[in-house]
Symmetry: none
Subunit: 194 residues, 4 copies
């Protein structure tokens, strides 16, 4: 019969993708079993079968979306020369600008999933991974403590842009990143804060 659609091993992945699409359009709040099932064109029961709870689905989605900024930084920094803090700051500011300049909804989605961890403990580990990914991308270029501060500054700058309908000011970001990076100890491998 043509009716059977049984055994679809990629079903799980398709559901996660659908969830990301839903969140992309309507925010995390829009993710429900029903909306996701409809978007993925699978029966409702399929979403609850593959994911024990919505949180589980959310974690999977967050994990998949996680790579946006991290990849941008990793790719962008890989090419850059091994200059000093000022050059690194300029590169970071430029990459950030490229990322923020992309589709707004995509950026919002990534940050919304990240920030959702505030009230959903289940997402905390994945949020930590997100921070780690970005930190790791910076690792080869500065010490871990400074890298952590860069992540914080980047997060704060992005938040200002996203939350206040502001525009990204690349020069501002470059300057402030430079200040943070300027204080780094001489060799990237050093890891003490002071």
């Amino acid at each position: 019969m043509t009716r059977t659609r049984r055994y679809d091993p990629e079903r799980r992945d398709r559901i996660v993708d659908a969830a990301l699409r839903v969140a992309h359009d309507g925010g995390i709040a829009g993710i429900t079993h029903r909306t996701v099932a409809a978007e993925a064109d699978v029966p409702l029961g399929s979403t609850t079968y593959h994911f024990g709870s919505l949180d589980e689905l959310l974690v999977a989605a967050l994990r998949k979306a996680n790579e946006g900024l991290g990849r941008v930084l990793r790719d962008g920094l890989g090419d850059a020369g091994d200059g000093g803090g000022d050059e690194l700051a300029a590169t970071l500011a430029r990459l950030l600008g490229e990322w923020l300049g992309g589709e707004r909804a995509r950026v919002e989605l990534e940050y919304e999933l990240y920030l959702a961890a505030l009230r959903r403990p289940a997402l905390r580990p994945v949020a930590a991974e997100w921070a780690d990914t970005v930190t790791a991308a910076l690792a080869p270029r500065t010490d871990p403590v400074t890298a952590r501060a860069v992540v914080a500054l980047v997060d704060g700058v992005c938040l200002q842009v996203l939350l206040t309908d502001g525009t990204y000011d690349e020069e501002f970001a470059r300057e402030m990143l430079a200040r943070v990076l300027a204080g780094a100890p001489e060799r990237p491998t050093r890891s003490t804060a002071t």
Copy 2:
């Protein structure tokens, strides 16, 4: 004369306070007409009567909750001496520690309301106010651009603490705030002149 006041202005405030208490305990998602009405001990219809929609109530609540960190900084910085960037950094780091060290739920609530603006345009102006309040507290001590960067860094540091179950590292915050403040144009930079 014998009539109790017809137009009860306290009623509205009590509802807002109840909404904050509800959000404090169960997050923004916990705010519904029912929970708020129950918490405020007012009839269900009263919440829909005084607030045309839930968003309207949310905005009122956000505006009221907004003053936490801002007030901490304003009060704390008012007392502090007019030292250089390093001293300011130390003071800020200390104040931040005090704020984050307080009741976790209160801190989460303030940030949750702030971050909710990401997906609710109605909250954007209030989120901007939040940032402005913190910036204003810093205004007398550094230039506006640096103040904005400080706000970004503070946000990022708070986020790392809140989103990853991490602990606040005051020394780390002090060091990084010092780096950002050190680059400010007019004020003394790295020199230790009091």
Copy 3:
């Protein structure tokens, strides 16, 4: 408009009645918000509005159904003369026979609601009321302790009939009730077991 059906003060009662009708036909397990709403011809939301939970509805239904056997005994014993234990036993056995001889589904319903208390603590108090009602009907004719034993024996006899597709043996019931009643202390008001 003819559409409006608002303000129906008897709505709550009608829902309880519908629940009893549903349980009558399909057992307690058949009681769901949907089946009851359909039976009562009210919107689904109406059942959850009037009863905070299914248990609450169940308690109301159980309380309403509670009076079956109790009323039979109260009415039947009221008429009977003030004979000794043997006469009381005969009367009880006859009344029990009349009650069990009625519509089977009704008897099952009453016992099912009563027995449901085993796993639903919320129903325990109502089940206790049930036992108290029957005990109270016997109170004027014997001492409380014996009355309690009569209730136990009656319950056990009914159970045998209901659970094993057996037939009610009035003579058997009369004999055993007489044995229990024969041991009662001389005066009904006495309340010691021995």
Copy 4:
């Protein structure tokens, strides 16, 4: 020779045991293919493979759980001397106390399975077996009719304890059992002859 047994008879038993454990903890209502399969640590399909329906599994479980009170009585009465009704009543009351004094959940489970027969005709024969088992344990000590009444009284007393959160009153049970047994035809009645 080298093949592990194809037809695995233990599997079926393990599933029944798991079902009893599930019912023990969460009541009959907690028995589902999923919970049982998880508890038995067998694949989901295994439960539907070995049991055509849930009722079939339930019957198997009920039959296995059936022996609790019956065994207590058989064992306990076997040892006891061949005393008269009063001694038998005392022994029965003591045994009942021991059984009810054991783990509450176990007692509830046994009665719940027994009472479930009220609405599930498939369980009726097994419920009848339950009554027969208890009756059989009493058979050597009194006449069949009195034994049946004893079972009824025991059931009623247990029900009062289980349904009303009451406490078991051994003296009460002893007295009432004695009254019923005293009326038995052949055996010595109130006389204490050993």
